[in-house]
Amino acid sequence: MKIKSVNTDIALTHILSQKKQTLVAALGVTIGISIFIFLNSLVQGFSRYSDESLFKSVPHLRVYKEDEMSTPLLPDTSNSTPVLINPKISNLSKNLINPKQLLEIIKDQSYVVAASPQVSLSVFYKSGNSQINGVANGVMIAEENAMFNLQSSMVEGNVLDLQFTTEGIIIGVGIADQFNILSGDFLTVVSVDGIIKNLKVIGIFETGSAIVDKTKSYINLNVAQQMIQESPSYVTDIYVNTRDPDMAPAYVDDLESITHYQAEDWQTANAAAQAGGAMRNIILLSISVAVLLVGGFGIYNILNMTVSQKNNEIAILKATGFRGKDVIKIFLQQAIIIGTLGGIMGLILGAIIVTIMKNVYVGGNIKYFPIQFEPDIFLYGFLFGLAVTAVAGYIPAKNAANIDPVQIFRK
């Protein structure tokens, strides 16, 4: 075949003979694509950041015993009058039976990367006359650390030391500040069942959330069991982390069928936060799409002008044997060339914006603006830009193809 088709040749000549307009139209696409890339990278970076901070305290999946409701004494049969009884929670304990074996089974699943048994209890932290209400999490600290990387938020001490000190505790920085205590000091913890323990502070953590830092502590699982006067086999929850958090809902059924307990994914547990995030994403996505569409209008506009200026030339091309399809190709190629040019510049501009924003310090726990290079967003931005360009170019191209040469020649 021919190296370069005559249609392409004509399209290129048109473009080169109006460099300025071409550049302006391309710049529209450039701005559209770079804004698209920036906003979407921002969305992705932001949700990654908020997922990361969420997963510091929330597992991908939670296995627990569902409350059982009492059923009516007399079931409804067709001939008898049904007796209605107020349904009430009827289970005596939230204990998972044989938690050790359950933990082994869960850990054996190929998709599970970490599982951690939990007993949490309400406690008072006491020092002298002052006391704070809080929640103590009884955990196996090695598993818990594997799941939530507790060490990363430690400001003092080593989390794993809790394994070696049975009567130890890791507290939030808010509690430590309030009581003015450091690692190595002792803290009195009282459970709602009235059990009093004097626990040695192994370490202090800071999550960045004042409420958590003022209430939360980690203690050994067996200490927690003692404090609510339960046996060493008492466990209320098993936290499970999977390879891909987004896949968590898919494993719910599987976990339920192997454990015979209720499983809940983090998306369900945090539906409100999820909805908020989705809303934020939709807003940013619509802005970026709108900007891109404006870029598309730029192309539409310039091609429309070109077509109306070149009515005579289109007519003679059609007279000399160019088909409607050829005319469409000529103008569509111009649009695509403009779009590609603008797209490449958009990728560069997008990369520059992301680089700049990455280095903007915002302070707090976030530190630097949570934005990263997302290759797939660059790709989508480019493809989407091209798609908008193609649509914007097709309409004037189609109009050009519909020009009736006879009407032009007869003027």
């Binding site: 021919k2 005559v6 040749d9 004509i10 000549t13 048109h14 080169l16 003979s17 005579n312 030339e313 007519a315 003679i316 091309l317 059609k318 007279a319 000399t320 044997g321 160019f322 088909r323 409607g324 399809k325 050829d326 009736d404 040469p405 006879v406 020649f409 007869r410």
Partner: protein
Amino acid sequence: MDKDIILETRNVGKYFHDPVKFKVLDNICFETYAGEFLTLVGKSGSGKSTLLYILSTMDTDYEGELYIGGEKITGQKQDNLSDIRNLNIGFVFQFHYLLPEFSCLKNVMIPALKLGRLSPEQIEHEAYEKLEILGIKDQALKQASKLSGGQQQRVAIARALINRPKIIMGDEPTGNLDSKNSEIVFDIFRRLTSEFNQTIIAVTHDNDFAKASDRTIELADGKIINHDLQL
């Protein structure tokens, strides 16, 4: 003398619908032969240009039948008509309709590049040949918009010739030219018919031009009133 019929119309009629329905062509039947230099004359509004555009295959809204080279053109698809024009018909208009951003050479080459029968190098060679025939080879690489009117018209003729069409159609091809340039164009047409056996069908107001052609068809009120007008 035994002549090949190259183009034939059978009972061609056409209506204009705007502003009122009006029969602009009525029962046009004629034939034209290979190598014939045919002119169409008539007063303004006689329908001669309308007829030419039907013959050109660009206007498909008519009744009756049109044959080119023995092939029935009426009712063919637009894409086929495009191919037929590309291969068989060259156009010369009152206005040159060159593509202003392209060189003269490129303007001449475009219909052949579209046809794609020859390599670009061969096409370029042919285009130079055509420009030479028309005496404007030295202008080949100039941009089309930079030429004088007469030169532009000659480039347009070279473009019409590039695919060696069987028929060359002209709508007032000398209408914008002074007498000297008109003469040049006429001589070229003459040579095409005699040397290359190409057929010319031209609409004209120019009586000298018509007089020197092989045959002149006169139209009035959409009808042929004379198949061989003697001027």
